[in-house]
């Protein structure tokens, strides 16, 4: 029981070190949380509307612009939806290259998050730039890994932000044998960095915040999930990507117009921690051993273990990318023809921040009639607020405002929210006080 009776009105107008612009409101009265919400105030960009009337062939260029940090994820989910409508199997070469490119985005995004967004808090710095003065090797290692992820995206996409190599049916161009070999060498050289990173992250002391959390991720038979498969939960349920809207209900919360995604009437978690918890046994032996060596008791319900999950996924991405490139051969053609019929296509892939679900209705000319995109951050939003409540109570509401704010920000950053993604689709509320 908290005995402190002071009233705290904490308002953080600009959250630092998150992608996009968000704010946090917290009101404590008589030692109880009276109001707590994450406000997303980025202006809407109305993607779902301007996709209408565009051709399915334009999707990779258009949806990439939703997010500069995870454009590959948007391109992959969109392509996945169109190909599922046409029943296209692009074949093993294209599937392997998609994985490879997607690993690049995971490595880049996770390394950016760990080093530039999350870690500085744990060492008492306001940014990676100031942290680099005292921990130059750590920050530089992180930036090298981030650079490696970008190089992997460039191999197939020419540039790492809004890459241009992906098309429905495959790729515009296949890397040469020489390019593939050069990158394999780079990946092999980086493996030690990634393994060291896992050990370093595991050594960072984090609060103990274990909770029973509902998790969702894709499930790919025999593989760590990224491109395909059904959606599975830790509650023993799994369902097809096309049934997403039957299971995920957007729920309107009283005194707010924000709609939260709920599964079985519960907030749920998507992202690296959910993926790792659900799919640990599909990791290659070397990476699984590394995960066990962290000393974390997987599956973990502590969101503060997300940073470790990201580091492990970096290591996995590099390991599997090396495997893919060992077998690399230049194909006769880098894509297969796709002609989707009129109808509705569904696609989901695992973005760095979690499940990214798309639905497109196409007409007989291949033009989009309507589109719906549900990004990971809007799925996580209810979970973020629930976690903030739980974490703040455990932390102690009687702590000074500055410490409360820092703790809230750390909790939010655990989810690596991408507000640029969420804002274009979230039915958001802007409280005007």
């Amino acid at each position: 029981m908290v005995t402190n009776k002071r009233t705290v009105a904490l308002h953080v107008p600009v959250l630092a070190r998150v992608e996009g612009e968000g704010a946090l409101h917290l009101r404590i009265r008589d030692g109880q949380i009276e109001d707590l919400h994450l406000e997303i105030y980025e202006p809407p960009r109305l993607f779902e509307k301007f996709l209408e009337g565009r051709s399915y062939e334009e999707l990779p260029e258009l949806v990439a612009r939703i997010c500069g940090i995870c454009p590959v994820a948007y391109q992959m989910s969109a392509i996945n939806a169109v190909e599922s409508l046409s029943g296209t199997d692009p074949g093993p070469w294209v599937q392997a290259m998609r994985r490879l490119m997607y690993y690049g985005e995971w490595i880049q995004s996770h390394a950016l998050h760990i080093h530039l967004l999350a870690a500085p808090d744990f060492f008492g710095y306001d940014s990676a730039i100031t942290m680099a003065k005292d921990y130059p090797q750590i920050v530089r290692r992180g930036m090298r890994l981030q650079g490696l992820g970008n190089a992997l995206i460039r191999l197939l996409g020419a540039r790492s932000v809004h890459p241009v190599g992906i098309k429905v049916g495959g790729f515009h161009r296949a890397p040469s044998m020489q390019e593939a070999t050069a990158l394999k060498v780079q990946l092999e050289d980086a493996l030690q960095d990634a393994q060291d990173l896992v050990a370093w992250v595991a050594g960072i002391a984090v609060p103990d915040r274990d909770q029973d959390v509902t998790l969702l991720s894709l499930e790919e038979p025999g593989d760590y999930p990224i491109l395909n498969g059904k959606i599975a939960s830790n509650r023993g349920q799994s369902f097809a990507v096309s049934d997403f809207e039957k299971h995920i209900v957007e729920h309107q919360v009283a005194e707010s117009t924000a709609l939260f995604s709920l599964f079985n009437d519960q907030p749920y978690l998507v992202g690296p921690l959910a993926r790792l918890n659900l799919n640990l046994d599909t990791l290659p032996e070397s990476v699984r051993t590394l995960a066990v060596k962290t000393g974390i008791d997987w599956p973990s319900g502590n969101m503060f273990h997300s940073m470790a999950a990201r580091a492990i996924e970096i290591c996995y991405g590099i390991t599997d990318a090396i495997r893919i490139l060992e077998d690399y051969g230049e194909p006769d053609t880098a894509s297969v023809p796709v002609k989707p019929p009129a109808g509705v296509g569904y696609g989901a892939t695992e973005a760095p921040r979690g499940l990214l679900w798309h639905r497109y209705e196409l007409d007989e000319d291949g033009l989009i009639r309507n589109a719906r995109i549900v990004p990971p951050t809007s799925q996580n939003q209810a979970r973020i607020e629930r976690d903030l409540q739980h974490s703040l109570m455990a932390f102690g509401l009687d702590k000074p405002d500055k410490e409360l704010q820092l703790h809230c920000e750390q909790v939010i950053r655990n989810f690596d929210p991408c507000i640029s993604c969420a804002t274009h689709f979230l039915r958001l509320s802007t409280e005007r006080l």
Partner: protein
């Protein structure tokens, strides 16, 4: 250089408006160079990287994103009065971005379709570039702009000059690379002839047509290119979509699309 004129390190801000964050990544993806940059300038405001001081006075400000809300209008005026030199970078800040497609539609109807309670959303009917509202000292186009352009601009500014702006078309870059012309040799619609260079002709080098993510070049002939596209068998609405893409509201492309639509209407389609 600025440091000696100012007697201190120049203060720099990076502001964000309606955008995908991709331009800010130009900084965050710099790696070691970002650390060097932080030695040359004092990063006063760059929320995604850490420092938050949106109202601070700075010597140079980079702006990502377009103006889409009433609040944006207030912010941008404040930033102008707080900043010595302003660089608008990226397609959103220089041309309104892809979200400027709302400029051709009924944005109110769009809001109602996407949001259950549109009255809660602070949104203007249009998405507009920074130069529509304030004086901009330098524009760097591109979706996203590349690192060399951004660093080149900072270096030049530090030495009190303006960077050289490449005004070539993508075609010239293809020639320099000796890349095969995808428009002529493969019959692919390519926006290269009307697009400013800077990307390194990435799309043609990957065997596909340019989609003009760097925006219109100088001295361009959009009507001639539209004629080429028609010759390839593209329908007027398909040609229109090529101009109404990343830089849809750049005047040259906005007018090109309008011309195609009005010509098509005159022909009784």
């Amino acid at each position: 250089m600025q440091t000696s004129t100012l007697g201190r390190k120049p203060r720099m801000a990076v502001h964000k408006f309606a955008s995908c964050d991709g331009c800010q990544l130009t900084f965050l993806n710099m790696g070691e160079t970002l650390l060097q940059l932080a030695d040359m300038v004092e990063l006063v405001h760059f929320a995604e990287a850490g420092p938050v001081a949106p109202d601070a006075e700075v010597d140079i400000a980079f702006i990502e994103g377009s103006v889409t809300t009433e609040h944006d209008l207030q912010r941008i005026k404040q930033i102008r009065s707080n900043s010595g030199f302003i660089v608008a970078f990226g397609a959103c800040a220089t041309a309104g971005g892809i979200q400027a497609l709302r400029n051709f539609a009924d944005a109110g109807e769009w809001l109602s379709a996407v949001y259950a309670k549109p009255e809660y959303i602070d949104s203007l009917a249009t998405s507009t570039p920074m130069s529509d509202h304030i004086k901009i000292d330098l524009e760097i186009w591109g979706c996203p702009p590349n690192k060399d352009q951004v660093l080149g601009a900072i270096r030049a500014w530090l030495y009190g000059t303006l960077p050289e702006q490449a005004q070539d078309k993508v075609c010239m870059e293809c020639k320099r690379q000796q890349a095969v012309c995808v428009l002529v040799a493969k019959g692919m619609p390519c926006m290269g002839p009307v697009t400013q260079t800077g990307c390194g002709a990435l799309c043609p080098s990957f065997g596909r047509g340019c989609y003009s993510c760097y925006g219109p070049a100088e001295a361009l002939n959009t009507a001639s290119l539209a004629g080429w596209f028609e010759g390839l068998g593209l329908l007027p609405e398909e040609i229109t979509r090529h101009f109404r893409h990343i830089s849809n509201s750049a005047p040259e492309f906005r007018d090109a699309a309008a011309n195609i639509i009005s010509t098509d209407a005159d022909h009784g389609h």
